[in-house]
Symmetry: C2
Subunit: 388 residues, 2 copies
């Protein structure tokens, strides 16, 4: 089986950009990726591109993988738009890895892009709601905040998780995001402030919810055998796993476990020959603060039900023994849906190479990281393990 490496990674600034559409955002990330390749970058070598995207600027573009490829100067290649809701980017990366492993193409772009703000003709609630079970959840009036609120409430009931624990996730991630020049919200928040924010869907309040974001990210993926032609420090994808789940949370085995995360991570660990203990940094899918707590448990960082204690004890702080979301996570960095998964890999690429822009956010001397991307409320999950 071919080994696969990432030799370049780029990300646009995440935020609200009335002046930029899908094409401009994708180009910004592509340019950033191109400039990150240490040597011999030649766009003509790119034979294939996977683009994660949910709403294509308000469902206004089909065939958009070819459109953005054309826009960055890559006509006549294999292009695919991957749509797995909020996990579109993570699955685009897995698709690129499989493509290289198959021998079909040698040099593959994996990216993602989403234009969520200033989009006409579509309501945000509708746009996001489509990623759950439309018939049994969205049309019954549930929003994603509502679904994750049900999960959070049940987690509190079963395990004694406290409201404070949710807010601790937000505080930690904003502290990291404040050091990320590409984050949407580069400011710290205080625990009291996070606790007192207006309720969105009880028990989740404003600071428990990620934002709507414009942004893009881009990775250059190739056969490990040729990786050293482009950089002395390629980052290897040593394992990956994915799993779907029942979309509606009422259909699941239990409400407080993302079965997809468990299965995807177990598969990835096995493939990489690692366990959860070996992971030195994780970028996890904290679309809501409860989602990060679930990730601690379902990725095996702590026992089921113990995530509240785990955040409280500080393990997942940037200087803890299991740092999580050094980038600021979806909460502070932003969540431009299709870009989120490849954006996590962009952060991990720089963390493993020691090239994070602001040293205060750099987790030092790490060799093994994990990225975790969730679609909907867990209907699709991808996990990839990246090693220096």
């Amino acid at each position: 089986m071919r080994r696969v490496a990432i030799v370049g990674a780029g990300q646009s600034k995440y935020g609200e950009f009335p002046e930029k559409g899908i094409k401009e955002l994708f180009f910004e990330a592509y340019k950033d990726m191109a400039s990150s390749v240490d040597k011999n970058f030649d766009p003509k070598q790119i034979e294939s591109a996977y683009v994660g995207n949910l709403g294509s600027g308000g469902f206004q573009l089909g065939n958009m993988s070819a459109l953005v490829a054309e826009y960055v100067g890559l006509p006549y290649i294999h292009t695919v738009r991957v749509e797995n809701a909020c996990a579109s980017g993570g699955y685009a990366l897995v698709a690129a890895v499989m493509d290289v492993m198959s021998g079909a193409h040698k040099m593959v772009l994996a990216g993602g892009v989403e234009k969520m703000t200033d989009v006409s003709g579509m309501k945000q609630k509708y746009w996001l709601g489509v990623s759950g079970d439309t018939e049994y959840e969205r049309l019954a009036g549930t929003t994603f905040a509502g679904l994750y609120a049900l999960i959070a409430h049940r987690h509190m009931h079963e395990f004694g998780t406290k409201r404070e624990h949710l807010s601790m996730v937000a505080v930690k991630n904003h502290k990291n995001g404040a050091q990320n020049p590409k984050a949407q919200f580069q400011r710290e928040i205080q625990l009291e402030q996070a606790m007192k924010a207006p309720i969105v869907a009880y028990p989740l309040n404003l600071f428990d919810c990620c934002s709507t974001t414009d942004g893009a990210s881009s990775l250059l993926v190739c056969d490990a055998e040729v990786a050293k032609q482009f950089t002395d420090t390629p980052i290897y994808i040593t394992g990956f796993g994915t799993s779907s789940d029942y979309l509606a949370i009422h259909d699941r085995i239990n409400t407080v476990t993302l079965e997809g995360t468990k299965r995807a991570s177990q598969h990835a660990y096995k493939m990489a020959g690692l366990t959860a203990k070996d992971i030195q940094l994780a970028e996890v899918h904290d679309c809501f603060t409860i989602a990060e707590l679930l990730a601690y448990e379902d990725l095996g960082f702590c026992e089921k039900g113990k995530a509240g204690q785990f955040i409280e004890e500080g393990h997942t702080k940037i200087d803890g023994d299991k740092p999580v979301n050094a980038s600021g996570g979806l909460k502070s960095k932003g969540h431009p849906i299709g870009s989120t998964g490849t954006g996590q890999a962009y952060e991990m690429f720089n963390q493993l190479r020691g090239t994070v822009q602001k040293p205060i956010r750099q987790v030092k001397g790490i060799e093994k990281g994990l990225v975790h991307n969730v679609g909907g409320s867990g209907g699709t999950v991808s996990v990839s393990i990246m090693e220096r």
Copy 2:
């Protein structure tokens, strides 16, 4: 490199089904696929599913690959929605082939589904228009019939192609489709009738345009080494190719060539060790009659500019020396966007195995076929070569 085979194929009836949504259509095709596997079919062995889809029932469903997988009884697998406009199905098949080649999964479902009729909240014109260049074509007022009309007009101007030649495509495909129990329009039409139909976008009239269709299709793809466990007559994918192109036709090298078709087919021929001469049956993308004429030329069945003569001489009739669209094509069988590519492979699977329902449509004794799927007006193209 692993060899890949198809061991089962199914298709729903194509047509207008007010009582069926995406899930029901996909299930119908899945059941049909399951019943086509000669022996040892076990859904538990399916580890991965690629689902081609453009509009997910009026852009109402995200994460829909996991949703339809769950609905047919396949939770906890790798699922991906592939969206490449009208070529979504063809690219879903290519993705499944790459997946098996990569060694990631052994048994993979490739399918597609589209619900186009009776969909609330979206206008058909808008829905389809998104697959071209939105900024320079759709928002300027062009429809797909308009774009293909420009191509047809130019083809007539440059090569002397006649209006009759367009209608001959429609007549041929309706003749074949009349013998296809799963086709949307199972009736023959006469040349005079086809010539006199109301104009849609000059020179294209009603009988030059495919319809809007509900439908789904499903293929079971696996490593060729295990294929004989499921059937004595697997069909092998011996070559595939894809290419994007500039989405807007005004940006292209020339207006009367689909560069994507040329490049995709040349790649597929090379991979299979074949040339256009070796192909004994082709299912090509005749969304408009001019598109089938372009396919004759760009796939290398005849010289550029000679497609009118080629259809007139009868080569592509079911009993000709180069039969095309034995199924009835998009024109008569219907064009449920995401399903079209895997639906073409369903027809080819049965043609190569000699298991077409009505013997009058069966092309006898063939061993090598080609399927050709186009996204938009040529922005994405996939070609796969299937051999007995």
